[in-house]
Amino acid sequence: MLLWIDWLAAFLHRSKRTALLLVAVNLLPLVLVFAGLWDLQRVMLLYWLENGVIGIYNVVRILSARETFFLIWLLIALFFTVHYGMFFLGHGVFLMGMLKLLVDMGNLTSLWTSLPSGIGPMVLLLFVSHGYSTAWHYFHEGESQTANTGQLMMRPYARVVILHITYWERVLRRWR
């Protein structure tokens, strides 16, 4: 337990910039909610689009992993792109239906222009934040040397739990 606390303290000390950025970017929507500028629709859309941003960086991580045998990483990256891409699009369709947003999911320009105001800059901010974290931890600190592509592939799926909680809360509310 003490060792773990020591490790956490050392980790937070050396990674305070990425940790602070992560918390700050996550809490920015909270400020916008308190200011009365953001509602559930915007928050849900942001979390969905963030899953897309994380998926893109995860492909970069898989392709840069050093531990995996020749070309296997390419197949894993391809499999992840198709599987996670379908997962992401499925979530998007469900979300658009729930929020009653009429968007042509096959047309990225239509999707981007249909987004409520304020989402675009926040997505760009998330893109920078996750990019900085990937550059710092994965490349600068050398995590790419020991990363396991199997674990990398599963990594983004744990995050979708937040969207699932909100979907079920709404489904149950309607059902009652």
Binding site: F11, N26, L27, D39, L40, Y47, R159
Partner: protein
Amino acid sequence: MALNEPRALLVGLILLKTILDVVLHVRSHARQDQKQLLQA
């Protein structure tokens, strides 16, 4: 188009997501640190 959700639900959702992100972030890097230590 806007959904009239109670603010408490939204605040809870954002805080839960922030905590989850921090936990996943720390857990993921702990695993990598452990691997690097074992290799060293």
